[in-house]
């Protein structure tokens, strides 16, 4: 059988169908099937990545079938370097999440089997959302994937889970509906200029007045800014991350939120180049605010899950800044950042999840001296923290550096302020590391158990990927760079020469 994106999307769905046919009582078998399916999907993605031609800037693995011909809607998928990297991230994270959160579904309202059906459906939709080259298809996945996440948070989370789930859903729906208005606008415009279509390529050729372009841009951008989330659209994220299970949080912050930043590149930039130029300064300012604000709030958090959520807001600020800096380094950095952030957040959330489930509390103050009691767990947390603060030698350093370099050449002030974000990152990571891992062992922590074999197996690939890409990021950059340069040149930008250093 030929490897195709449709096959890749069919695999998790097939897994979900098998799960649906299982009896409810056999939870172990459900977990094994879910794990097997995600592994299979990951292997298929790797096969796709291997046969992907890196230097070809055209879309690859293209498939297109008519879906609703009278509206010009196609089922059209394809890959460029950026979407390939994000799909790779998604499918690599999925088995790790399943393995790491082996017992996550136990505190849920429904059966284990339902939990994994939702996860697999979410995985399928995440692949679809990154692969879609038809705006309508993208929108369908974009909105439909809210439903499984909603039930994952509301059904299997902790604390105020249903309130958090509703907040998440309403924010996202609101943004999605604004985007729908813009999509309708594009559809009508395309109808008046040579026939209704939703093909991204064709839509980017549309002629429109600058007012129209600005309004349509905002419809898309706000939807993506809510998803990403960018300050001031971020308020749903801490609640959602707080209530969701660690595995769901990884998928939510690591995969789902990337749809926002991915959408900015794929849709905001390519469809509305002029509006992008108009709004770039504003967006750079918002990104810088996100970086600093997220970092400050992270420092002030007492709850470990909320802390990670706020660090992510700061990181998403970096990604957005990299995208809108309009330089090829910035773009490559932002895409690489998306990939790396997926794994460093996964590490943080999964390890924090193990700490929380052992201690029965997510307050940082309840931990202390874990280094002595559970050394492997403590080292894992320390490593995840270092990855989050972008320690040189770890993968996130490369991407953060690229983003800052890329931004500096065009927006030096923004880049300088953002650099303070790195200093703040040291604070928000080292403070919990110090409080939770070092010092005397506080009461209640004496008998915590260290990582089990399953947990060690789950975290190992994350550690390996973070280390490997920290020292040798070029395999990924070689895939990303052509696509990033292509996007920038399409927009009519060229990289400004650095003014002070003279040459690269």
């Amino acid at each position: 059988m030929n490897i195709s994106l449709t096959l890749l999307m069919a695999l998790p769905l097939l897994g979900a169908a098998v799960l649906a046919a299982l009896p409810k009582t056999n939870a172990l078998l459900a977990k094994q099937i879910a794990f097997g399916s995600t592994i299979l999907v990951a292997l298929t993605t790797i096969a796709i990545a291997v046969s992907f031609e890196r230097d070809n800037i055209n879309l690859q693995f293209v498939e297109s079938h008519q879906w609703i011909p009278s509206f010009g809607i196609n089922y059209a998928v394809g890959l460029d370097g950026i979407s390939l990297v994000l799909i790779l991230m998604t499918t690599l994270l999925a088995p790790i999440v399943v393995l790491a959160g082996w017992n996550e579904s136990q505190s849920g309202r429904w059966s284990t089997k339902t939990f994994y059906i939702l996860i697999l459906i979410l995985e399928m939709m995440a692949i679809g959302v990154f692969a879609a080259t038809d705006v309508f298809l993208f929108y369908v996945f974009f909105e439909a994937m809210l439903v499984p996440v909603y039930f994952l948070i509301g059904g299997y989370g902790t604390g105020e889970r249903s309130a958090a789930a509703v907040k998440f859903l309403l924010y996202s729906l609101f943004g999605g509906l604004l985007m729908l208005a813009s999509i309708i606008g594009l559809y009508v415009l395309s109808g008046s200029q040579g026939g209704h279509t939703f093909d991204t390529q064709a839509l980017s050729q549309l002629q429109m007045s600058s007012t129209t372009q600005n309004l349509l841009f905002l419809g898309f951008f706000i939807a993506f800014a809510i998803k990403a989330p960018l300050w001031p659209f971020h308020t749903w994220l801490p609640d959602a991350a707080d209530s969701a299970t660690p595995g769901t949080s990884v998928l939510l912050l690591g995969v789902l939120d990337k749809v926002g930043t991915f959408g900015m590149i794929r849709y905001c930039l390519t469809l509305f180049p002029d509006a992008t130029k108009t709004f770039t300064p504003t967006i750079i300012v918002l990104s810088v605010i996100s970086i600093v604000y997220g970092a400050f709030l992270a420092i002030g958090q007492k709850d470990i899950k909320r802390l990670i959520a706020f660090t992510s807001i700061s990181h998403f600020g970096f990604i957005t800044m990299g995208i809108f800096a309009m330089t090829s380094q910035g773009h490559s950095g932002a895409t690489l950042y998306m990939f790396n952030h997926g794994f460093s957040t996964a590490a943080l959330f999964l390890v924090a999840g193990w700490m929380i489930s052992r201690r029965g509390s997510s307050t940082i103050a309840d931990f202390g001296g874990l280094q002595r009691v559970t050394p492997v767990l403590a080292w894992a947390f320390f490593f995840a923290g270092m990855s989050s603060l972008a320690l040189p030698g770890l993968s996130s350093f490369v991407s953060e550096f690229l983003v800052l370099v890329g931004t500096y050449t065009r927006y030096p002030v923004a880049a300088i302020i953002a650099t303070f974000g790195i200093v703040l990152a040291a604070l928000y990571i080292l403070i919990p590391v110090q409080r939770a891992l070092h010092g005397p062992t506080t009461a209640g922590n004496e008998n915590l158990s260290d990582l089990t074999l399953r947990e060690k197996v789950a975290i190992t690939p994350v550690v390996v990927i973070i280390l490997f890409l920290g020292f040798y990021p070029s395999p990924l950059l070689k895939v990303i760079n052509p696509a990033a340069t292509h996007v920038i040149s399409q927009l009519g930008f060229s990289d400004p020469a650095p003014t002070q250093l003279g040459g690269k």
Partner: protein
């Protein structure tokens, strides 16, 4: 003076005639068949009649005629599509009506009286509801294909009068049901009066009661414009009342709540198709050239209707009232299709009417299943935890709600997309933006119900879900399948509608 017999084209009128014949036979059955057999005989007769009419409508598809009944009926593609939709919705609604748990034993008995007790003990059933349904269906079939004001008015009354009666037949909470019926009747009578008043002005304006004649006057622009404006305004009021648009919506929450749920389903879905069908025909053909005088007003009504329906629905504590306000909001979305005034708008409206009608019947069918010892439970708080006790019923209901909210992969999304894009294309951007915003607001209360069902623990006085009867089960499953299918692969139906959706004049 000579009297010439009217020339009728029986082929084109046949669906309506079949329904009327079925209704009359139903009346005779009431008189002559023994009580024990009546429910079954009536059910078979009604469903059979509806199916026969459906087959007949399908056979005459593609024929077009303006002279079917001396120029008072016009049959064309949209007429065929709307009649098909009405018949399909009616059939699945009749399946719900067949569940006799819904209806009073003796409508004439005073609530709580000895007479009522006796008739309940004797196991009486109001089988009159079947012929009443058929009469209403006949009116609905005629409504969107009328081509003069008198026929339109007759059809309006023909579909309304049986519904007034049916609204008062509820088995439980009979006073509420009777109050609803009276309210519906009084307000309906007012709106009919408004309609007639407007019709008189249109006659005064053009000297003609046929649509073609009025249209010619509008195009020629010879008459007195004041008369035309008054005429359009009052005829619109009559029609807007039937679809439940703000500010003519006041009856709908009470009637939706008070009427037996099966009747609510029928009324909410089928009446809306018929009334919007007539409205589309009038505004697309008769008043199209006076666009400048009614689009601003109708846009305003559409925007208010969407926003009002969505906002007020948030405060509802009763599932039927909530669905009533949601249907008000949907009336606003449908008005966007009327305002669009282009071919895309017509196709989109017909698609939306069908998709929404099916989902509505399905949602109300689920409502009939949630009961306690004293009948249906519509208090939302007592729906808490339904997802735990009856996951399938709750899932299906949640799916219908997601369709109402317009989430992708449901029929509601395709409907919303097509109707908004048609409105946007015609330049009604304000309506589209209001529509999108009110969809966001509406999502809030649909999701609240989902939260209640799945994420809230149930109270002690928990409701149970009864095992659905075979017919109710068919309705629920059919509605569910159609709602999914139209969300995932709507292309065949859209193409089919596009093929037929052109008004002839």
């Amino acid at each position: 003076m000579t009297f010439s017999a009217p020339i009728l084209n029986y082929t084109i009128l046949s669906p309506i005639l079949i329904i009327l014949a079925g209704a009359l036979i139903g009346v005779i059955i009431e008189a002559f068949v023994s009580k024990a057999f009546r429910p079954l005989v009536q059910l078979i007769l009604t469903v059979g009649t509806l199916l026969l009419a459906l087959v007949q409508v399908f056979r005459i598809r593609g024929t077009e005629s303006v002279t079917a009944a001396m120029g008072s009926v016009i049959f064309d593609g949209p007429g065929f599509l709307l009649q098909t939709a009405i018949l399909i919705i009616s059939i699945i609604s009749v399946f719900l009506i067949a569940d006799n748990e819904n209806f009073t034993a003796l409508a004439a008995a005073i609530p709580g009286s000895v007479e009522e007790q006796e008739s309940i003990q004797q196991g009486n059933k109001v089988t009159e509801v079947y012929p009443l349904t058929l009469f209403a269906v006949a009116g609905m079939l005629l409504f969107p294909i009328s081509s003069d004001l008198i026929t339109l008015f007759v059809a309006l009354e023909m579909l309304s009068l049986p519904l007034y009666l049916m609204a008062g037949l509820s088995r439980r909470r009979r006073l509420l049901s009777q109050e609803a019926a009276l309210k519906y009747f009084l307000l309906g009578a007012f709106s009919s009066a408004f309609f007639l008043f407007g019709a008189a002005y249109l006659y005064g304006y053009s000297g003609d009661i046929t649509f073609a004649g009025i249209r010619d006057s509008v195009v020629g622009g010879s008459g007195n414009d004041i008369f035309l404006l008054i005429g359009i305004a009052f005829v619109s009021i009559g029609l807007l009342f039937k679809v439940g648009a703000v500010p003519f919506h006041a009856w709908s929450p009470d009637v939706y709540q008070g009427a037996p749920t099966a009747v609510t389903a029928f009324m909410a879905a089928a009446t809306k198709v018929a009334a919007f069908g007539a409205m589309l025909r009038i505004f697309y053909t008769v008043f199209a050239n006076a666009q400048w005088s009614w689009t601003p007003l109708l846009s305003g009504i559409a925007i208010i209707t969407m926003l009002f329906g969505s906002f007020v629905a948030i405060a509802q504590r009763d599932v039927k009232r909530m669905l009533a306000y949601s249907s008000i909001a949907h009336a606003g979305f449908l008005l966007a299709g009327v305002i669009a005034l282009n071919k895309a708008g017509l196709s989109a409206s017909i698609f939306y009417l069908f998709a929404y009608g099916i989902a509505t019947v399905g949602a109300f069918a689920v409502v009939t299943l949630v009961r306690d010892s004293s009948g249906e439970v519509t208090d939302l708080n007592r729906w808490a935890g339904l997802g735990k006790r009856s996951p399938w019923v709750a899932t299906v209901f949640a799916f219908f709600l997601l369709a109402f909210a317009g989430i992708p992969l449901t029929s509601g999304f395709i409907g919303k997309f097509s109707i908004f894009s048609a409105a946007y294309e015609s330049g009604a951007k304000g309506v589209v933006i209001a529509g999108v915003l009110s969809s966001a607001i509406a999502a809030f209360f649909y999701i609240r119900v989902i939260v209640l069902m799945f994420f809230t623990d149930s109270h002690e006085d928990a409701t149970t879900v009864v095992i659905p009867s075979v017919l109710t089960r068919i309705t629920v499953i059919f509605s569910f399948v159609i709602t999914v299918a139209l969300g995932v692969y709507p292309a065949p139906l859209i193409d089919f509608i596009n093929k037929f959706a052109t008004f002839i004049r």
